[in-house]
Amino acid sequence: MKLVAKLWIGIFILALLAPLGLIIPELFKAGSAWGEWGREDLIKMVGYFPRGMQRIAEIWKAPLPDYAFRGSENKGLQSLSLGYIVSGLIGILAVALAIYLLAKFLTKHVPKTDNKKESSRDPEITLKRRSGRNKFVEYSLIRTLEFFRNEIFAESFSSANGLMQKIQPRIKLIGLILILIIVSLLKDIRLIFALYILSIALAYLSRISVLYFLKRTWIFIPLFSLFIAVPALFNIFSPGEVIFFGITKQGLSSASLFILRVLTSVSFSVLIVLTTTHTRLLKAMRSLGVPQVFVMTFMMCYRYIFIFIKIAQEMYFAIKSRLIGSVKNRKAHHVVAWHIGVLWEKSRLMSEEVYMAMISRGYSGEPKTINGKDI
C-alpha cells in the first residue's frame, strides 16, 4: 500500500477516535479550555454575558456549532459523539479540498518539461501549448479541428450496432420530443432522476462509452447551469427555511430540480444525436411532415458547413504559415473581417455554381430523392 493511502487511513481512524476528546473530559467533569468559554460558561463565571461580546459573537453563526448538529447539544453523549465524527470528516474533506484547489491554482503556470516530445506528434497540441500574440488564429484553428474530430467521433457511434441504432429514426425523433415534454412537465425530482438513469442505461446499451457519454452531456450546458444555479441556493434569492450556511430548503430543491431537468434533456438529445446519422435524422423530419424545402435546405446546409469550415481552416493555415511577428489587436480585427468577407464572396460564387449544377442535372424546383430502406 502506498504511503499516502496509509496516511489517509490514519487520518480517518483519528477522526473516528475523536469523540474520545469529548468523552474523557466528561469523565473528569472538565470545563471548556481557558479563554474559550461559551455563553453559558461565562454567565456561570461572571454572572452576566458582556454585551459587546454578544454583538460580535452573533456576526457569524457556524453551521456545526461546537462540532455538533444544530439542536443536538442536549441529546447526550452518543449523539454528540456522532456529531463529532461527522464534523471531523467534513473538516478533513474541506481542508483537503481547499489544499487541492490551492495547489492546482498555484502550479498552473509551471511549464511542462516534456512539451517538445508531445508536440511533435500532434499539431493540435502544439497549437494549444504555444501561448502568444496571435491567439485568435490558433483558437480558430483549434475550433475547426475540434469540429471535425467530434464529428468523426460521433459518426463512429451512430454506425455501431447497438440498441438505439436499431430503432427507426422517426420513432426516435417522436420519442425524443415526447420525453423532452414529459421531462419539462414533471415536478417530482425522483422521476426525473429515474429518466436520467434510463438515458445512461440506453447509452450503455447502444455501445456508447459511458464515460464519453457523461463527458459529452455534462460539459458545458449542465455544468454551466450548475454554475448559475449556485446563487439560487441561498436565502438571498430563495427565501425560506434555512438548513445550512444560508442555503434554503426551497433554494436547494429548485436548484437541483433545475439542473437535473436540464441534464436529463441534454442527455436524451445527445443520445439521439449520437445514435442516428444526420441523413436518417433529416429523412425522419421529412416523413414527419416538415416541408421539403426546409429539409433540403438543412441537408445542403449541413454539407456546406463542412466545406466552409474546411475553407476557413485553410485560410487560417495560410495566415499562420506566413506569420512571423505579432498582429496587433486592430490589425487582427481586420484580418478576421477579411476572412469573413472572403468566405461570404466564396459562398456567393458557390451558390451560383451549385444552382447551375443542379439545373444541368434536371432540377426543376421539386427535388427527388432515392428513398432509403426505412422511410
Partner: protein, 224 residues
C-alpha cells in the same frame, strides 16, 4: 444566448413556437417570391455561412477571444426575411445535430436570434444609413451600430424569457420549477455581458466585414 432544454417551461416554449409559426410562414413566402427556383442553394449557403461565422475568433483586449453571431450581417447582406430562414436553419442544425440550444426551446431561440436580431438590426441599419451612397462611410457605421443594437435586444429578450419563469411557474412553497431567477437578476446579467463585450464584438465584425464587402463587391449590396 442559446437557451437549453429545461430552462423554459413547456408552456413558454410552446408559445414561442406559436409566435414563430406565422413569422416562418411569411418569411418563406417573401423568400419564395424574391428568389424563385434558386432559393435552395442560396438559403443553404446563407445558413452554412452563419454557422461558420461562429468559428471565427476575434481577439478582445486582455488576450482573450470571443466570436460573433453574424445575424445582423446576414440580414444586411441577404435581407431580413432571408436572414430569418438562414438563421433558423442554422439554429435547428445546432440544436438537432450538435446539442447547442434545446429542442423544446427552438421556438424561443429562433424568436430571439432569428427574428428580433435580424429585424432590429436590419431596420436600425436602414434608419441610420437612410439614403447615403452605397459606398459611403455612413453605411459602415450604420452596420456597426445595427450589430450592437440587434444583439443587445436579442439578449434582452432572452433575459426576459428567463426572468418570467419563476413568476409563472413555481410550487406552492415558492420553489422555482425552471430557471430559478427573476427579472431583477436575469435581465442585468444578460445585458451586462452583452452591452460590455459581445455587443462590441458583433459591432466590430459587422462593420468591418461590411466595409470589406463594400470595397470588393459594392454592386452586390446595391441589389438589396
Amino acid at each position: 444566448m442559446h437557451i437549453p432544454d429545461g430552462y423554459l417551461s413547456p408552456q413558454t416554449a410552446g408559445i414561442f413556437y406559436l409566435v414563430m409559426a406565422p413569422i416562418w410562414l411569411v418569411a418563406s413566402k417573401i423568400v419564395k417570391k424574391t428568389l424563385q427556383v434558386r432559393q435552395v442553394p442560396y438559403l443553404a449557403i446563407g445558413a452554412a455561412f452563419t454557422f461558420v461565422i461562429m468559428m471565427f475568433n476575434i481577439p478582445i483586449p486582455g488576450g482573450s477571444t470571443g466570436h460573433a453571431v453574424g445575424g445582423v450581417l446576414v440580414a444586411i447582406l441577404l435581407g431580413p426575411a432571408q436572414a430569418v430562414i438562414a438563421i433558423t436553419v442554422s439554429l435547428v442544425i445546432q440544436a438537432l445535430l450538435f446539442g447547442d440550444g434545446g429542442i423544446t426551446a427552438i421556438g424561443a431561440n429562433c424568436f430571439n436570434m432569428a427574428f428580433v436580431l435580424p429585424f432590429v438590426g436590419f431596420y436600425t441599419y436602414k434608419l441610420i444609413a437612410f439614403r447615403a451612397a452605397q459606398r459611403s462611410r455612413r453605411r459602415i457605421i450604420a452596420a456597426g451600430i445595427a450589430g450592437y443594437v440587434g444583439l443587445n435586444l436579442a439578449a434582452l429578450c432572452a433575459g426576459i424569457e428567463f426572468g418570467l419563469q419563476p413568476i409563472f411557474h413555481h410550487t406552492s412553497s415558492g420553489q422555482a420549477l425552471y430557471c430559478p431567477y427573476g427579472l431583477n437578476v436575469t435581465v442585468p446579467a444578460m445585458m451586462l455581458e452583452h452591452l460590455l463585450i459581445f455587443g462590441w464584438i458583433e459591432a466590430i465584425v459587422t462593420a468591418l466585414v461590411f466595409a470589406y464587402i463594400q470595397r470588393q463587391e459594392g454592386e452586390f449590396l446595391g441589389r438589396i
